[in-house]
Amino acid sequence: MQKVKRSILLETRHVTAAYGKLEVLSDVSVRFRKGRLTAVAGPNGCGKSSLLKAIMGFLPVSGGEIVLEGEPVARIGRKKLARRIAYLPQDCFCPDYMTLGELIELAGYSRYALVGGPSERDRALYRQVLETVGLSDRAGFPVNKLSGGQRQRAWIAMVLAQDTDIVLLDEPVNHLDMKYQFAVLELIRELTEIYGKTVVAVLHDLNLTTTFADDVVLMRSGKCVTSGPVAETVTTGNVERVFDLKTQIFPRDGRLVCFPERSGQAAVS
């Protein structure tokens, strides 16, 4: 029992949150396990992004609490939280003329003194981060002039440079074509496998989820329908409950493949 608890790093307990009158999360209880890649999946508007925003404190929580290693997140200061959790919003905007090197240097803000900048240790970390994302030769290059796939890796580099145990990624592969989706997710996979980070990523695509994630949280209309290891959670029954879609799911090369069946109807309510 004790052992199970220690492997849980981040947890939401009966979290309810709303934008004004519109409730976007209702009674969500999810546990994110240490060193695992957890995918949050579900149809559009189901509260996937809201869950990450609630964890970061950007969405006021009206009920329940979010706990990071036994400590309520709401009581952790911004700077302290930034040393524990890094977050990549869905639509990232980079000011013009900003280079990749600057982007990464800024990410370490929570570690710097009021006067002064990165230490030798920080600089070594930044070099390593650039190597990890495969952009070592691009440090002096403006971020807005990188290609789509490179830019997404640049944002992941910024998140990595924050040097946190936990990484929250909101739709990290949304605008990328299939080749880059795989490359970026392969990189995200490395974060857990090589660096031991705990990663929570919002993903649309169930096949990407089954290919890369360890655990999955399936959401629908602000509620967590079910969560757990991918192999046990992604079942035809659960997928139909979450997406209103009949699928065939079969194992192939050690992972699950979801294959939606055609409904024969043009419109789905």
Binding site: M56, I85, L106, Y109, S110
Partner: protein
């Protein structure tokens, strides 16, 4: 070498050249060694040297103060309100400071020290009016912030009109305060600089300490907060510093318009949006622009001396039109800023 490095290396010698021009234009070449010696020794042995030390040098110091504070404040305001037209001149800050100063002097008969305090209060009042009116005008549904600039123009017109009304009502003393309609750099204002320089100095210190978090805010409030920035606190301190710094400029020599608008646009293509580099560059470039504008104001129609503020207004007006055309009237550039 990077463009940024070249710019930062070039701007300091440029500052020295602009300062030398500002001090020495009009003197005979053969007098130069003596004059430079007089400045370095801070001792006047002739009439020319006295003019240099007690008229030109104060002017230069005021120009440097005014230019650097206005430019840095403009850069910070443009970054925080995400609007390329934001500046102390376009957001009602300068007009508010001028109004409070003139009203204080003419109606309540306060001395220079309290006039300065009135200017600081007026700067805040102008800024707050601009924001409040923009809110009413539906700034939230206006992603490009046009309503903010329009309400800034409205506040400026209203406040400047009131300033003019106060001036017209007091024919005996109005010539003394005409500088607060169009900023004028005059050696007599060195006393005011001696009184208020620390306000601008404090603003610069605040800007430089907050350069990194301010740059992170450019990435959006949530991204900035996730990296550890206290976004509301940093924004408030920076805006307060920009507004009070600009207020102190008006307290010294009246509204030297548009330096705060144009210098950020001159600096950005070379140095970028990272305030760690852009702030020092803006400080130096603002000083250069003001020193040169002051030389032009003095020499262009010699023996008549123009108001330096008039010169910066003329340059600024043209740049304003260019920015409006590029940012608001060109569809392709909508996302650029």
């Amino acid at each position: 070498m990077e463009r940024r490095t070249i710019f930062l290396l070039a701007v300091l010698p440029l500052l020295v050249v602009a300062l030398a021009l500002n001090l020495l234009v009009g003197y005979r070449p053969e007098d130069m060694p003596g004059l430079i010696g007089a400045v370095l020794r801070f001792e006047a042995q002739s009439y020319e040297e006295a003019v240099l030390l007690f008229q030109r040098l104060p002017r230069s110091l005021i120009a440097i103060y005014v230019g650097s504070i206005a430019a840095a404040s403009g850069f910070v305001l443009q970054s925080l309100v995400r609007n390329p037209l934001a500046s102390p001149a376009t957001m009602g800050v300068n007009a508010g400071a001028a109004l409070f100063l003139v009203a204080g002097a003419l109606v309540f008969d306060i001395g220079p020290a309290l006039q300065g305090v009135a200017a600081l209060a007026g700067a805040l009042a102008g800024f707050v009016s601009c924001i409040v009116i923009a809110r009413f005008a539906g700034r939230r549904n206006d992603p490009r912030g046009l309503s903010l600039i329009l309400s800034g123009a409205l506040v400026s017109m209203l406040f400047t009109g009131m300033t003019n009304a106060f001036l017209l009502s007091d024919p005996a003393r109005r010539s003394e305060f005409l500088s607060w309609v169009v900023g004028t750099i005059n050696h007599a204002y060195i006393d005011r600089l001696a009184m208020f320089w620390w306000v601008g100095a404090a603003a610069i210190v605040a800007f430089l300490l907050l350069a990194r978090p301010l740059t992170l805010i450019l990435f959006g409030a949530e991204k900035a907060a996730s990296t550890g920035v206290n976004v509301p606190l940093v924004s408030r301190i920076a805006i307060l510093a920009a507004v009070l710094g600009s207020g102190s400029v008006v307290a010294v020599c009246g509204p030297i318009g548009f330096v705060g608008l144009i210098v950020p646009h001159m600096v950005r293509p070379f140095v970028g949006n990272n305030l760690v580099f852009a702030l020092p560059a803006s400080l130096a470039t603002g000083a250069v622009v003001c020193l040169l504008a002051d030389v032009f104001a003095r020499e262009a129609l010699y023996p008549y001396v123009l108001s330096t503020g008039l010169v910066t207004d003329l340059i600024g007006g043209v740049v304003f039109v260019i920015i409006v055309k590029r940012f608001y009237l060109t569809p392709a550039n909508r996302e650029a800023a």
